[in-house]
């Protein structure tokens, strides 16, 4: 960081952007690009990575990150930096449902240890692992800003609060 702030440009912007993603995905990414000043396409990188990750079944590959870089006229390394810095990007395959369990203080003193233990037993996977059938990945996360409903976890875009073993059974049974 200096006193000048310019986008990290690449020597040769990619010309063939249409070939990188499907028209639908491009339309979604373009909506984000439009929110920022014209010369700051790279501001859309976080949203683009999230959209691409979602379409790829929940994780990113080097090839996909390179495509995002080309689409946004960024150096690939700048995209890798972003993808590895933020915890919601996955750089390895994950299960169909990623269960993000909060174990921070408010959740911990309301029994998140038991929630984790119950999930680990039920899914046959430890924190950071996936179930054998590839259906679930169990992930430990920091405070999700829902401590009033501790203990809690997030699956997909949804928060589930005031968890109990019975509630977990019914939540998992209700997933696709």
């Amino acid at each position: 960081m200096g006193f000048k702030n310019v986008p990290m440009s690449v020597a040769k912007p990619s010309v063939n952007k249409e070939s990188l993603f499907s028209p639908e995905l491009r339309a979604e990414i373009d909506k984000w690009i439009a929110k920022y000043p014209q010369e700051w396409r790279q501001s859309a990188v976080m949203a683009a990575l999230m959209l691409v990750q979602e379409e790829n079944g929940g994780y990113l590959t080097t090839d996909l990150m390179d495509k995002v870089a080309a689409y946004l006229d960024m150096a690939p390394i700048a995209v890798y930096e972003v993808a590895s810095f933020y915890s919601m990007y996955e750089l390895k395959p994950v299960g169909k449902h990623k269960i993000c369990v909060c174990t921070n203080v408010s959740c911990m003193i309301n029994g998140s240890d038991q929630i984790v233990e119950y999930l680990e037993k039920k899914l046959g996977a430890k924190l950071g692992q996936s179930s054998a059938d590839g259906r679930y990945t169990l992930k430990e996360v920091e405070c999700l800003g829902a401590c009033g409903g501790a203990p809690m976890f997030q699956i997909g875009n949804k928060y589930y609060e005031n968890l109990t073993p019975e509630l977990i059974d019914s939540i998992l049974a209700g997933l696709e």
């Binding site: 930096e81 996360v141 009033g148």
Partner: protein, 422 residues
């Protein structure tokens, strides 16, 4: 009186809808400002008079911050809202986004008008999908009704507002890391100075405020700075949202006047769960040093009272712990958090947070050494104040607080290799 500012419409059945917001006079203040072409300085003066202090944690006076912007200097300026809400224990901005998004939008437009900014961003943490969707829907409504966009109500003033979604990084709540993040980079804090008021988003003059701070603005402009100030006490103007959680019966977010006794807040939250006894309270998010329960029961919830007790009001996140909790285990978890979330660019923080965690961890697991407490004391003084951003201090302060008030629990762990509590 509770629910006067950010939660004033909580009694409505769907307060997030434009129609319900307007039924209570929503957007009338903005309309009046634009119609009467209120001088921007008088808005800033009103905010100054209100005594509003930043609700994101640092408590910096909002009006003063706005006055740092050279309003008439040429070039793009920005208003940025900090809805990253990551400080453990804090869950109030989520409710502002879910239940009162229009008041935040109105506050941001007024802020833009006051500092001469025509664009704004609301940085919402990536996990907050439902609040994000609520906020997006409100943006749509506001655009359609002409409260956002070009030439608002024929005033010649333009204001466009967008959300930016985070992707999981506590450090992006730090204001300059947040700006870096909007610029499409890793969220690593910048050196200050220059401050965002001079060199902010995309290198342009920027004010950045917490969600609750900005959502308070329309009410301040409607009822006057003096009215807001008098809700609270000396040095702590207004009412504030408190997120209260832990071993209590009815955790939740409560809006109460600053200066309200903690005992009253605890009572609003139903008191202790299962009749257990209060042991300690973290009064302002996990970075705020812990305060023993008996002492806390005598305190009022305002900036000065909590500071005098050696802690800070922070984001107003109150975590209540009962006497079944082992303080070593609680500190171990908090230290792990800062270790996990350090962005890694300053040596004292990157190395120090990991070291703090490892030492507390070994005490917790029965491998503590007699010299460990002195080591912890020493380390905290070598991290705090020696880093680019306040995360270093935030990691050190809880350790200092714990060792000050609950040292004997740590000593017991070290000598007996087990817990005093369970």
């Amino acid at each position: 009186m509770a629910n006067e500012v950010c939660f004033r419409n909580m009694d409505q059945d769907r307060p997030w809808l434009l129609e319900q917001y307007r039924s209570r006079g929503g957007y009338e203040v903005l309309t009046r400002i634009l119609r009467e072409k209120t001088p921007p300085e008088s808005i800033i003066n009103e905010v100054k008079a209100s005594g509003l202090r930043g609700r994101g944690g640092a408590g910096f006076p909002t009006g003063l911050k706005w006055s740092f912007i050279a309003r008439n200097a040429p070039g793009q300026k920005y208003v940025v809202c900090n809805s990253d809400e990551g400080e453990p224990g804090t869950f109030k901005d989520r409710d502002v986004l879910r239940y009162n998004p229009h008041q935040l939008i109105e506050g941001m437009v007024i802020a833009g008008y006051a500092i001469g900014a025509t664009r704004g961003y609301n940085y919402i943490r990536g996990e907050f999908w439902e609040p994000y969707e609520r906020f997006e829907a409100a943006l749509e409504e506001a655009r359609a009704a002409g409260f956002l966009g070009r030439d608002l109500m024929g005033s010649g003033f333009d204001f466009e507002l967008h959300s930016h979604l985070g992707a999981g990084a506590y450090i992006c709540g730090e204001e300059t890391a947040l700006l870096e993040s909007i610029e499409g980079k890793k969220g690593q804090p910048r050196y200050k100075p220059p401050f965002p008021a001079h060199f902010g988003l995309y290198g342009q003059p920027t004010i950045i405020n917490n969600t609750e701070s900005l959502a308070s603005i329309p009410v301040i402009m409607e009822k006057g700075g003096q009215w807001f100030k008098e809700l609270g006490v000396e040095n702590s103007g207004g009412s504030k949202l408190f997120s209260i959680s832990g071993n209590i019966k009815n955790p939740g977010v409560f809006e109460i006047p600053l200066g309200t006794p903690f005992a009253e807040l605890l009572e609003m939250a139903g008191g202790m769960k299962n009749g257990s006894k209060i042991k300690a309270v973290i009064p302002g998010g996990s970075s705020a040093p812990i305060i023993p329960g008996e002492q806390m029961m005598q305190l009022t919830m305002d900036y000065d009272a909590i500071a005098k007790a050696g802690s800070m009001l922070g984001s107003g996140a109150v975590i209540v712990l009962d006497d079944r909790n082992c303080m070593v285990k609680v500190l171990e978890r908090m230290s792990y958090f800062y270790y996990e979330e350090s962005c890694g660019q300053c040596t004292p923080c990157r190395e120090g947070t990991g070291w703090l965690y490892r030492v507390v961890h070994r005490i917790e697991t029965g491998h503590g050494r007699p010299e460990d407490l002195a080591l912890l004391d020493d380390m905290t003084t070598k991290i705090a104040g020696r880093t680019i951003c306040a995360l270093g201090d935030a990691a050190a302060m809880p350790v200092q607080g714990m060792l000050k008030h609950f040292r004997e629990e740590f000593e017991y762990h070290i000598t007996h290799k087990r817990c005093l509590v369970s």
